[in-house]
């Protein structure tokens, strides 16, 4: 299964990951990730955006190691509030609240947190192995892709992201196009003609992704929290016996095994990742359980499966990002943006051209999982104490980091104003029921899809049938159309029904 070449590369990656600097950033990422996972209202997307300017002076591999640590660390952290307080620290741990909190009410918070940590570790370790095995051959295959294949793959990704997202698929698609429209601002790469710049020189090279992300995620999050008055309830429950007993392990081994596969493979799909993996795992466990009535009343399987799946899903989402250069969720989109800021061009050539970053980052994920296991179990009481920090003290600190972070991108005050504009856009979108994640994906994918589309049309002399003439492209196009039709048909049926009622 593992060739000697791959073993050499893993060893090379390990030698990069264990350098004191990278170990420190891995630890720091895991720590920050757990912290933001614990704190409701501050997610990994906003945290990565906030910390992005700090990484400008770091090597790309250290930055990615730290950001990856934040991503999977947040999944661990979110579990703590879900189990102890019935408040999901992260959207991906919503499902954990159902049985995790019930276990706490029955005095079994320790085993719930313990099995979540062990499940995440086991699933995460397998997923890293899968990432190492799958990403390089996928990148090799992607080298055969031409513009039509890329165009149809991105189209399929956008369709799936809209379809599998948490809100309305129609709204997600609209927002993705809105993001692409913002992505067209600036100089056209092929002709050099500026588009929609209205004479503002600062945006001549396009709108920077950092002010957009910070505005839409960091600042909007703070505004929403201030508006809704986020308050953390003090935890009085005593946590004891973090190690699951033999029966707990017996009940959990199946869910952990299945959660690993569900999480990893759903992580590979656009719009999949941690959130859908956790839900899918819970539904499956309940369906195949001999005692489905136990679910919702403190079944350890309802914690073990989803917790394994959400961590595995996070790592699975790295496969398309690192091998194809395509982000399939908001976090990998930001990570892609971070790579680009460091001058690394993601895509099929990423692994052959930057093996140090790929193998260094993947091996550090394994170390990160070990760090999280060691860090989390003994530190749970400390994380609980952090929940006591009043949000009115936390909010100004987040805002200050946003301000300084965004200003330090180019030392240009226009970036501050852009951040404020996009905070307004993000706030408006949330109020009107639009998810901001497809916007970021659309904005990041815009140059890729535009280039691929234009090049394909030039190659085919303007013929759209070209996308169906090449087998890989035809496959992606048919899939994309099928996904769109799947969600357009119920929409039309619903309309008909309403018309009938009105008649």
């Amino acid at each position: 299964m593992l060739s000697s070449g791959m073993i050499d590369q893993i060893l090379q990656g390990l030698s990069i990951a264990v350098t004191p600097l990278n170990l420190f950033y891995c630890f720091f990422g895991c720590l920050i990730g757990t912290l933001v996972g614990v704190l409701p209202g501050l997610g990994p997307v906003a945290s990565i955006a906030l910390l992005m300017p700090i990484t400008y002076k770091l090597p790309a591999v250290s930055a990615i190691i730290m950001f990856a640590g934040i991503y999977y660390g947040a999944q661990y952290g979110g579990t703590i509030t879900s189990v102890l307080m019935n408040i999901p620290g992260e959207a991906t741990t919503v499902v954990t609240c159902i049985d995790g909190y019930q276990m706490t009410l029955r005095g079994r918070s320790g085993p719930a947190l313990g099995i979540a940590a062990f499940g995440s570790f086991i699933g995460g370790s397998f997923a890293i192995f899968g990432l190492m095995l799958l990403a390089p051959p996928l990148a090799q295959l992607a080298l055969k892709f031409g513009p039509p294949e890329y165009f149809s793959l991105i189209l399929l990704s956008l369709a799936l992201i809209s379809y599998l997202g948490t809100g309305s698929p129609l709204k997600a698609l609209i927002v993705a196009i809105f993001g692409m429209a913002v992505g067209t601002v600036g100089m056209d790469i092929e002709t050099g003609i500026p588009r929609f710049t209205h004479g503002i020189n600062t945006i001549y090279n396009g709108i920077d992704i950092v002010p957009v992300i910070m505005g839409m995620f960091g600042l909007t999050e703070v505004i929403i929290n201030l508006e809704e008055g986020v308050t953390a309830q003090l935890v009085k429950a005593k946590i004891k016996g973090l190690l699951p007993n033999r029966q707990d392990w017996r009940d959990s081994k199946g869910p952990i095994f299945r959660g690993t596969f569900i999480g990893f493979f759903l992580g590979l799909i656009p719009g999949g990742g941690a959130l859908i993996s956790a839900f899918a795992s819970y539904v499956l466990e309940k369906k195949i359980s001999k005692h489905p009535d136990k679910f919702g009343h403190g079944a350890i399987e309802g914690v073990a499966g989803p917790e394994t799946a959400n961590n595995t899903g996070c790592i699975g989402a790295f496969v398309p990002m690192l091998s194809l250069g395509l982000p399939f969720n908001a976090i990998t989109a930001i990570l892609l943006g971070a790579l680009m800021i460091h001058g690394v061009e993601p895509g099929p050539l990423f692994i052959p051209q930057h093996p140090d970053i790929f193998w260094g980052a993947t091996t550090s994920m394994y170390l990160g999982n070990v760090i999280l296991l060691v860090l989390n179990l003994p530190l749970i009481p400390l994380w609980v104490q952090i929940l006591r920090i009043p949000y009115l003290l936390l909010a100004p600190i987040i805002l200050l980091i946003c301000l300084i972070g965004v200003y330090s991108c180019n030392y240009n005050t226009v970036d501050i104003y852009l951040m404020l504009i996009f905070a307004g856009v993000g706030y408006g979108m949330r109020k009107f029921g639009y998810e901001p994640a497809p916007f970021i994906l659309g904005m990041i994918l815009c140059p890729m899809i535009e280039n691929a589309f234009r090049q394909s049309l030039i190659m085919s002399d303007g013929s759209f049938s070209f996308f169906f003439e090449r087998p890989i492209s035809a496959f992606f196009m048919i899939m994309a159309i099928a996904v769109m039709v799947t969600y357009m048909i119920p929409l039309a049926r619903k309309k008909k029904k309403i018309v009938k009622v009105n008649l």
């Binding site: 067209t184 056209d188 201030l226 100004p396 600190i397 200050l400 030392y411 009107f432």
Partner: protein
């Protein structure tokens, strides 16, 4: 959501028209030789198509009572936050990084926490000093010194 969907659908419809208009002014080219304005026009057409579906869906849905759209609570505080952040952008190059950060953080603490001014200034001093050490000294940022000189 009916009213909200109608408003947002109309916004995206207008944005679609803007994209088509803006794209048409640039070189559109043709399908065999697409130019600068080609992709924005395609996006505009797609946006108009989807927003029409969204508006249609909203019109077909039943009317329901809708809650407040913006700023349920703390509206003044949020407006103040935005204003101070604009002010930060204006002042940072005149007053300098340390001074502006101190003023900004102190005023935010004064408004959000509603505590005593001395406490707010102490928080401001600590936060600005910590940021100065982290961003300016440790990370060697090139922040403006302003007339204060630091």
């Amino acid at each position: 959501m009916r009213k909200r969907d109608l408003i947002s659908g109309s916004f995206f419809f207008i944005l679609g028209i803007y994209l088509i208009g803006g794209g048409s002014k640039l070189q559109f080219g043709s399908f065999s030789t697409p130019k600068t304005g080609f992709f924005p026009v395609i996006l505009g057409v797609s946006l108009i198509f989807l927003s029409v579906i969204s508006i249609g869906k909203a019109l077909a849905s039943e009317r329901s009572k809708e809650n407040h759209l913006f700023f349920k609570t703390n509206s003044l505080k949020i407006v103040f936050l935005f204003s101070t952040m604009i002010a930060y952008g204006v002042l940072v190059e005149i007053v300098g990084f340390l001074g502006t950060t101190f003023l900004w953080f102190s005023s935010i603490m004064l408004i959000l926490k509603s505590g005593s001014p001395i406490k707010a200034f102490l928080y401001g001093a600590f936060a600005s000093f910590a940021c100065y050490v982290l961003f300016n000294i440790l990370l060697q940022g090139q922040f403006p010194r302003g007339f204060v000189g630091i």
